[in-house]
Symmetry: C2
Subunit: 465 residues, 2 copies
């Protein structure tokens, strides 16, 4: 089917656009890529992997028992899927324990508030804190507050993330989560509360990492569920002092070491085993859901894609390496460790792609490769057409998430853009569970990674050039 | 506008259906009902009441501080809206304190489980219980289990409620919640867990009353969120023993008396003040959301409808009585008290209507009135056409919820059927908050109750006949 479509494409394209010749794969290989696409589109392997991870492991924040089980699970799963080599590279961190949050408005109208500690927040101590809340619409407004103006107050940022297919609203909203506590503390605040970075209306707050600043007091930081942030704003509309109670039993134990691991598996190239096509996802998750979408989806599709290719009678020419990164959620720890551990062979990484965003079909692809190899990307794009993936020709892709750290070291990048419209309804919440996974979408996603991985491992092209 | 439409309707209907003459309202009254409809459709009064109740009061389970505040709020609000008489009738109950639930699968794969105590469940004690889980697809399957077969086990019913516009899936699902714990205990179980009666996929479990049986041990009973019930089922698929830990700190203090109240307000009829048109909703809510939809919507629309009519220069002929019932959630306590307190005047209640279901526009109306007054209902239906409300002519309505107890005593009933497609995503969960309210739908709902109340209080018709 693909070959026929490609021929049609070549003929049609000749009338209006530069011709894409199937110069990088031969007829047998085109047949193979076509068959792999069909296999992935009709297989429930990725879904089975996802079901296994979420049912048998669940939440897996670095340093927890869940993470240890996830590492063992991943090693076992790769082996059972027929990977040729599987190993782990240790990744270290310090301990953080979430604990619980008790939050309530005390005045003007007493009401309980649903909140979740931001990742790696300190706690309040057993007695909690009680203080007036000062409301800011945005992080910029908080930043503009006068020095000392928040002494003994709790700062509240209520900016609401906007929904979009590309997920671009996230970058506008996430600053408050990352920097808000430090900014508030610099101005004297004793606590930081914010509207969750999320697009839903569920009372399932969104966690995610917060960053303290050297020399600035670490203050407890929590995210309120969207309906609770609305409630607080409605109380502010009464023009009365808003008094708040916050107790956070989180513990940030910077002196206690914990261990995670990058789990790495390969199918070895039959001609150029040293040359690596890298597929990434992160194995860790936040501790509040079962990490089905963040990043169970990525884990499932890169493992399944590689497993589909591993079933071929002959290995592709180059090695396909799956890297399941550790500790992405707490600061790309696994990626940072990977570029240290594999510094000597990074220049053997021909291209790298990750999945760590989205909850729907992939609609677009973009490369970040050497100029000489752009025609190969155009040929790859032609194989993606039947999957509904458009070709963004700008060739400026940086790797996604963990792979960003890898491609920043000069490794060529390939990015696939999935529909992210509903992703931030669930991201970093207790709602990140298996039921959110659309099995058909996951088949399409997996087919895209399968076609990509086979092409990159088999075609005679060096993406570094 | 309505008058013109009615004339058109009469002309058109004459060709194919029995003619509806505007026999029950005169021209001035038809003008009035038209104006009232427009007022309600363009007013944000109902939304303001809803915003006030959810912001200033919030959760209000009978016997709690929230319920006390709600009673004071309702009395004050009715007075400020220009009601002629406002009073409270005391309603008694015993104390129940929700406490917390800690639930987790211990084996085959340890995972935390989101659960909420069913209403009025007993607790487990501080040490919790640990036991094998026995899975039943339905309450009927549990009922069919052999006597003694659940000794020292936890029973799990996983039936999933079906979504529908009418909400009919609820009655098929709710039996497990009401009876399941008692049935399981009779067979020896020490705990009862069930899939929430709800149509969503959020990790916000659905509470709701459970009923113990005299002479049968009271065992702790909790509802799991839908994703957590799915997870448990996926663990059962591994064909291994499922071991569960459950700790419920709920306290059912049957010897501790608590007090709620029906809050009742009237605008007094100008010609027949003894004759009562009754509009109902329940003031209490479960303790886990802010009771915005259950039943803040009902509270808001019946208060706003009456307030719109109270602004007319002359009161309608008959009294419009708003009854905000106490303790509906724990067993229609307020309704049961009302028919005792008002036994002597129940035969002066001409007709009764409640709102206690739905989260969308009203699409249908149905009466339960005397045969002689059916033509008046047909005329009322003609005034509802412009609001998109169809006329279900079966004339077999029983009052909804609390008003069911009232109409069972012979009071004529009017029921309005709203869209309930999404209602059971939220019902009895922490997600029952203001953001779920569609202000436009609430305007239509309120307009329907306004038109109905005015017609019933003004038209020369005795619905009892």
């Amino acid at each position: 089917m693909l070959k026929a479509m490609l021929q049609t494409f070549v003929l049609t394209a000749a009338l209006s656009a530069p011709v894409v010749h199937a110069a990088y794969l031969n007829d047998a290989e085109i047949k193979q890529i076509d068959a792999l696409e069909n296999t992935a589109l009709n297989s429930d392997l990725a879904y089975q992997i996802e079901e296994s991870l979420t049912t048998e492991v669940g939440a897996r924040m670095i340093g927890t028992e869940g993470d240890k089980r996830a590492i063992a699970w991943a090693v076992e799963k790769m082996k059972s899927l027929g990977f040729d080599k599987v190993w782990t590279d240790e990744v270290g961190h310090y301990q953080w324990i979430r604990g619980d949050v008790e939050a309530k408005v005390l005045a003007p109208f007493p009401q309980p508030i649903k909140a979740l500690a931001l990742g790696e927040s300190v706690g309040t101590g057993e007695t909690g804190i009680q203080a007036e809340v000062i409301h800011f619409n945005t992080l910029a407004d908080l930043q503009a507050a006068e020095a000392g103006s928040l002494t003994n107050k709790i700062a509240f940022v209520s900016y609401r993330m906007q929904r979009s297919k590309t997920g671009k609203g996230y970058s506008k909203a996430v600053g408050a989560r990352v920097k808000g506590a430090a900014v508030a503390a610099e101005k004297g605040a004793i606590g930081f509360i914010m509207r969750s970075v999320g697009t839903d209306n569920n009372r399932t707050p969104h966690t995610g990492i917060t960053r303290y600043k050297n020399g600035v007091k670490k203050i407890p930081a929590v995210a309120l569920a969207n309906p609770d942030a609305d409630l607080l704003i409605n109380q502010f509309k009464r023009k009365k002092k808003v008094e708040f109670f916050l107790k956070v039993t989180a513990m940030r134990n910077e002196v206690v070491a914990v261990r995670g691991a990058n789990v790495i598996g390969e199918i070895t190239g039959s001609e150029f085993p040293q040359q690596i096509v890298a597929l990434g996802a992160h194995l860790d998750s936040w501790d509040v859901g079962t990490g089905a979408i963040d990043d169970g989806l990525g884990v499932s599709m890169v493992m399944a894609a590689t497993a589909h290719i591993a079933k071929l009678p002959v290995r592709p020419k180059r090695t396909i390496r799956v890297i399941l990164f550790a500790g992405e959620e707490v600061g790309l720890l696994g990626a940072k460790q990977y570029i240290i551990d594999h510094k000597a062979t990074l220049n053997n990484h021909l291209i790298a792609a990750e999945w760590d965003f989205g909850l729907g079909k992939i609609y677009s692809m973009q490369s970040g490769v050497g100029d000489v190899s752009v025609p190969a990307i155009a040929e790859l794009a032609s194989y993606m057409e039947s999957l509904g993936v458009a070709y963004n020709k700008t060739n400026k892709a940086r790797g996604q998430s963990d792979m960003g750290a890898v491609t920043d070291k000069g490794v060529p990048a390939m990015n696939f853009a999935p529909d992210g419209t509903n992703y931030f309804d669930i991201h970093h919440t207790e709602n990140d569970t298996l039921d959110k996974v659309d099995a058909k979408d996951l088949q399409q996603n997996t087919a895209v990674y399968t076609v990509f991985a086979y092409f990159a491992a088999q075609a005679d092209v060096d993406f570094r050039k």
